[in-house]
């Protein structure tokens, strides 16, 4: 690392990995419940497990993004972080709000709107917290020697993500409008501004790992995020087909969301090409695997599996089935989980000075988690397609259908076990690096 304050990133990464582990536990609870084994029902009913699982996901990814910013922005702007103290306060308070929300879900305190379950009073705390974070990052950026494209795109993504949180906090009496504006948050995050964050982190990693000229990488970064907004903004329409919005969304949403995979395809081709072009081969193989892996898996999970059910005539049958869960898992994993794991894998040796660049542990972590996730995706997919045919086409009752597809959840749990083993190895490898230290400072 080049600046002392980059060490703060470590604590964000550590917290993120802790919450990932907890997220997975709640995933298992739901997997078993889907198999008909709902033994924890009295303490952790399905809706609690689900809210915890998905909120922890968003929470640890946000922590990962913040940690990435605390690592990347000082290095890109060649300046120590504006206020390390504020960063620590912000981390602790963010964790406190998150943990409070998670506990609240066990006591029926929430706002039951998918992905935005955080009770309203806590929403305000999240907003204050994120403002503090953005203030710190923006001050660092503007006081810095340089404002690189990579840093700007990353910061813009974080800033827009904060702004887009607000429409999700408005109450509507009409379920249609409620849902309409909820997608301003959920869709415009994952298929919009979060792609800027991902693109920014990806560009940073490619510059460091491949040694390709910054100007070339940043040019393509603009093209990628341009494609993202060109398709993804009106692509929001793929959530407006069947909620009571006007029918013009059927074709607007259909056309533009069908273009969304282009941004992910561009990201994959970009990463692979830069890797081939690169003269300097950075010895950190683990970081390279996760970086290229994120670019490719996001194209498959978000791009291809998203496109598979995005046209209105297909979505009419798959809307709100396990097909959606199939796509949701691989998309979140490939795009956002993997890019966070990539930056952690890159940053850890630099923060601690322990160069665990290419060991067995990190290789098994990578392959087991990815093959496990692929298997989980297939299990959800088979269950989902079977559900669509039985329930939506043949008219079998919902619960009868669910009974028939229970075996696929056994497969899900087996693959999830492989996945979890991979993640566990990743976390062990993380701890093997030890703590960040000023002795790891290098001047370059």
């Amino acid at each position: 690392m080049k600046f002392k304050t980059q060490k703060i990133a470590y604590w964000f990464f550590l917290s993120a990995l802790g919450l990932l582990a907890l997220q997975i536990i709640y995933g298992f609870i739901m997997g078993f419940a889907h198999m008909g084994m709902d033994g924890l029902h009295d303490f952790i009913p399905f809706n609690t497990a689900r809210a915890v699982h998905t909120n922890l996901l968003v929470f640890w990814l946000l922590l990962g993004f913040m940690g990435s910013a605390y690592y990347i922005i000082p290095e890109e702007s060649q300046n120590e972080l504006y206020s390390p103290k504020l960063a620590y306060i912000q981390l602790i308070s963010f964790l406190a709000v998150g943990v409070t929300a998670i506990i609240a879900y066990h006591f029926n305190w929430w706002e039951g709107r998918k992905f935005l379950e955080i009770p309203r009073p806590l929403d305000y705390l999240v907003v204050v917290n994120v403002l503090a974070f953005l203030f710190n990052i923006l001050m660092t950026l503007f006081k810095g020697k340089k404002q690189t494209t990579t840093a700007l795109v990353l910061t813009m993504g974080l800033l827009f993500a904060a702004l887009l949180y607000l429409p999700g906090m408005i109450w509507f009496d009409s379920q249609t409008l409620d849902s309409f504006y909820r997608w301003y948050v959920v869709h415009l995050w994952v298929e919009g501004v979060w792609e800027l964050i991902m693109g920014g982190i990806l560009a940073f990693l490619l510059i460091k790992i491949t040694g390709v000229d910054r100007e070339v990488i940043e040019k393509w970064l603009y093209v990628i995020v341009g494609l993202t907004f060109l398709s993804g903004i009106l692509g929001t329409g793929h959530h407006y087909y069947y909620i009571g919005a006007p029918s013009y969304w059927l074709w607007i949403g259909g056309i533009f969301s069908a273009l969304e995979p282009l941004a992910f395809l561009a990201m994959a081709l970009f990463a692979l090409n830069m890797y081939r072009k690169g003269e300097k081969k950075h010895p950190n193989k683990a970081a390279l695997n996760w970086t290229l892996g994120a670019a490719i898996t996001s194209f498959v999970g978000a791009g291809l599996l998203g496109a598979a059910h995005t046209l209105p005539n297909v979505n009419l049958y798959t809307h709100g089935t396990l097909v959606t869960a199939m796509h949701g898992h691989m998309a979140f994993w490939g795009a956002y989980a993997m890019i966070v794991l990539a930056i952690i894998a890159y940053a850890m040796p630099n923060l601690t000075g322990r160069k665990l660049y290419d060991n067995n542990l990190s290789r098994y972590a990578f392959w087991l988690s990815n093959v496990g996730m692929l298997g989980m995706t297939v299990a959800f997919g088979v269950a989902g397609v079977a559900q669509v045919y039985m329930e939506r086409i043949l008219g079998v009752d919902f619960m009868e259908t669910q009974k028939e597809i229970e075996p696929h959840f056994l497969v899900l749990i087996l693959c999830a076990t492989g996945f979890t083993t991979g993640v566990t190895l990743y976390i062990i490898n993380f701890f093997n690096h030890g703590k960040p230290t000023d002795e790891a400072l290098v001047s370059e």
């Binding site: 739901m30 029902h41 809706n47 379920q175 093209v223 995020v225 907004f229 909620i243």
Partner: protein
């Protein structure tokens, strides 16, 4: 060959144009379309009370409504049409977990008061009147179970 400043222009122009288009379409959807639907004028206080109960208990954490939510329990957009009011009220007021003896999956035993159960029923009835562009589709076939 594309230069960096051309790429930047592409990004900025695309972002601005499509954001403006999206906001315009949102305005049209909200103000010209949704707000003018006949059923938007029938959102009674009971329906709103039902929506508060729906959210306050995170029913969407197991069920879907308009196809949005979780995939653990049935889609409820047309539930009154499918089951009738009495059945729905009964399960909402049930003191023991619904489904316990039939499916292995349990619904939380909310044991709602008669009044709250009625609010939720009013909410579902309202939901059932919204024009959803054909969702949920009527299944093509009707299958009988062999015993």
């Amino acid at each position: 060959m594309l230069t960096k400043s051309q790429a930047k222009l592409f990004f900025l122009a695309g972002t601005i144009i499509f954001s403006v288009l999206f906001l315009g379409l949102s305005y049209d959807t909200h103000v010209n379309h949704v707000a003018n639907q006949p059923y938007e004028k029938t959102i009674t206080p009971a329906v709103i009370a039902g929506k508060h109960l729906w959210e306050g208990n995170n029913c969407m954490g197991c069920h879907t409504i308009f196809g949005e939510g979780a995939y653990y329990a049935p889609e409820l957009t047309k539930v009154i049409e499918r089951r009738g009011e009495g059945y729905v009220k009964g399960l909402l007021m049930s003191p023991t977990p619904w489904g316990e003896h039939t499916s292995g999956r349990k619904m939380v035993a909310y044991g709602f008061s008669e009044e709250d159960a009625q609010y939720l029923v009013e909410y579902f009835k309202w939901i059932g009147t919204v024009d959803l562009n054909g969702f949920p589709a009527k299944p093509k076939y009707k299958i009988e179970k062999n015993n």
